[in-house]
């Protein structure tokens, strides 16, 4: 059942979809990078994302400055990600794939429970006064948080793109993603490159966590649950290990979810729709949107 579509509603939904897509992209891009170098389905990435939100709140309450909160949370989350790589995934590389997957699930459970123990069971809030409010633009309502999310995502991705394309570290990462063995032979410090990927991916996820916390004004222990499996779906839709693919998939999912929940009466939840999309896509195009067979 298609309902009447008014132009302003359509525009508003596009703004909503763009913000939603940016949030997905911030999680998916790290997952895709990590999958690219290690071939690990990093479910605990959602735990890092939640950690980012809690750390951001901690630093914000401590200093009252959003910039410090964001930078501090990203730094610590990045280090946390690198530590996970060093002490959990690296020893597991020679073992069957399912080993790292189960460890990742265990880690995610651990992190979620740790947040509850440290921060309490109640939902916390991150109300940043400077970001409250919105302005209207030819009938569209755009909140300041939306702008920060979309702008921040764009800036982060631009920086990431420059780093990957135009620096020595970026070259090393790309080489490792191609083939670890060859990279080793070429004299590339594989361990350092993988660490860098985990650091970058985790820092971006933490940024995503803080943005979501501000957007919904809510920080809670299970906020990573939905992200954990939706992130996996996104990197599969995008094409395993393809960063561009993951970003593309994120925005497509943001738009599809928004459109399908409002303009149709498909009797499925938002998550159900996302997963149905995933199933159909895997069947039609197993290598994903931008993946190479």
């Amino acid at each position: 059942m298609i309902e009447s579509i008014s132009l302003s509603v359509l525009g508003q939904q596009l703004v909503n979809a763009l913000a939603l897509g940016s949030i997905y992209a911030m999680i998916a891009v790290g997952l895709a990078m990590i999958y690219g170098v290690l071939r690990v389905l990093h479910i605990a990435h959602a735990g890092i994302y939640t950690a980012g939100a809690y750390l951001g709140l901690y630093f914000y309450n401590l200093t009252g400055k959003l910039v410090i909160a964001v930078v501090g949370a990203m730094l610590i989350a990045g280090i946390l990600g690198a530590l996970i790589e060093r002490f959990v995934y690296r020893p597991m590389l020679p073992k069957p794939r399912i080993v790292a997957l189960i460890a990742s699930i265990g880690l995610f459970i651990c992190l979620s429970d740790l947040f509850r123990i440290l921060a309490g069971p109640h939902q916390l809030t991150l109300d940043v006064a400077a970001l409250a409010g919105h302005f209207t633009l030819t009938g569209l309502t755009i909140s300041r948080v939306d702008i920060l999310i979309v702008g921040g995502t764009a800036a982060l991705f631009a920086g990431l793109w420059l780093l990957i394309r135009h620096t020595a570290l970026g070259f090393a990462i790309r080489a490792v993603a191609q083939d670890i063995e060859t990279a080793k032979v070429m004299g590339i410090d594989v361990d350092r490159s993988v660490q860098a990927v985990f650091f970058l991916g985790s820092a971006i996820a933490a940024f995503g966590g803080i943005m979501v916390a501000i957007l919904y004004n809510a920080i809670y222990t299970s906020m990573g649950d939905v992200v954990a499996y939706k992130g996996l779906a996104l990197i599969v839709i995008g094409g395993f290990g393809s960063m561009m693919g993951a970003v593309l998939a994120s925005f497509l999912l943001g738009i599809t979810e928004t459109a399908l929940t409002t303009y149709t009466q498909i009797p499925l939840s938002r998550d159900g729709i996302a997963m149905l999309l995933l199933v159909i896509l895997i069947l039609v195009r197993p290598q994903g949107l931008l993946g190479k067979e």
């Binding site: 399912i98 189960i102 699930i105 779906a233 939840s269 199933v279």
Partner: protein
């Protein structure tokens, strides 16, 4: 008479063991990732629940339909799984379980999110059974499942699965058709998981879509891997252990999930084959002990022979 609480725990241990064995057929024996065992468990549970509440069929009459439905669901989800492997397959099965849960939630025919309540008890000789008798039924079903798995492992099917698991290309070359055997694995594993689902439904006697979602599916996978993927003793041990664990750890009430997660990480770091997987430290220790015992017994016999 056993304490009803102990009976409850034993029944749950039996039910989860059967479901874990089902997943083990797919993932352990045939080597196909599956993070969505809840689909088959849920199919069995829902079909049995619907038939026994909406029609005149009893537990035993509904059972074959429920098993057939879950086996069919296994076949249905196995077909697309032929196209993809490894990580794609893992994520695809996650997709399945979410779509399944979503459908159950949004189709009012299946009771919606509220699920199906007042599911009748299993009957024996026309009368509803007590939990003690139900425990015997569960133990019987578990024994049967174990027997089937042991047989499957040693049969030609088990050999074919092993070769697919080790090297699919090579299996193809020696004339084993991987697709066919993968479908066998999905169908048989799904039927076992469906059996577990039926037993679950008639024990808790109330099912909702959320009982068969992603989290329970992961939980079963963890049971299988923790016990020892690919063995028969492993999944049963893993299921019993993880069902008992929260009960044993009640004294650390506040930190149960933390300990649970940590156990998984540490086990994967130091004993990825699981507690009872072939070659794990427990199995090696047991073998050493057995060998020592045999040696002692043998030496005693030799004394007896030469007084």
């Amino acid at each position: 008479m056993l304490d009803a609480y102990v009976v409850t725990i034993l029944i749950l241990m039996g039910i989860w063991s059967i479901i874990a064995l089902g997943l083990n057929v797919i993932t352990g024996l045939a080597g196909q990732f599956n993070l969505g065992i809840g689909v088959y468990m849920g199919t069995g549970a829902y079909v049995s629940a619907m038939l026994t509440t909406e029609t005149d069929l009893g537990f035993w009459q509904a059972l074959p339909f429920a098993l057939a439905a879950s086996a069919f669901m296994g076949l249905l989800t196995g077909l697309p799984a032929l196209r993809v492997r490894e990580d794609s397959l893992a994520v695809l099965t996650i997709g399945f379980v979410f779509v399944f849960e979503s459908l159950l939630v949004y189709l009012p025919y299946f009771g919606g999110p509220v699920g199906i309540s007042r599911i009748p008890r299993a009957t024996f000789g026309g009368a509803p059974v007590s939990n003690e008798i139900y425990l015997l039924i569960v133990i019987g079903a578990l024994a049967l499942s174990i027997a089937v798995c042991l047989y499957l492992r040693r049969s030609w099917m088990g050999l074919a699965w092993e070769s697919i698991r080790e090297n699919e290309l090579a299996a193809n070359v020696i004339g084993i058709h991987p697709a066919r055997f993968k479908l066998y694995a999905f169908t048989l594993g799904a039927a076992l998981a469906g059996l577990g689902g039926v037993l679950y439904a008639h024990f808790i006697r109330y099912v909702t879509p959320y009982d068969f979602g992603f989290i329970p599916s992961i939980y079963v996978l963890v049971m299988v891997v923790l016990g020892g993927l690919g063995t028969v003793r492993g999944p049963v041990f893993g299921a019993c252990f993880l069902t008992l664990l929260p009960e044993l750890f009640r004294f650390v009430q506040d930190y149960r999930n933390l300990i649970y997660g940590l156990t998984l990480v540490l086990l994967m770091l130091y004993e990825p084959r699981g507690f009872l997987g072939s070659g794990s430290f427990v199995v090696r220790a047991a073998q050493t002990c057995g060998a020592a015992l045999r040696a002692i017994l043998a030496s005693k016999r030799s004394y007896a022979a030469n007084p």
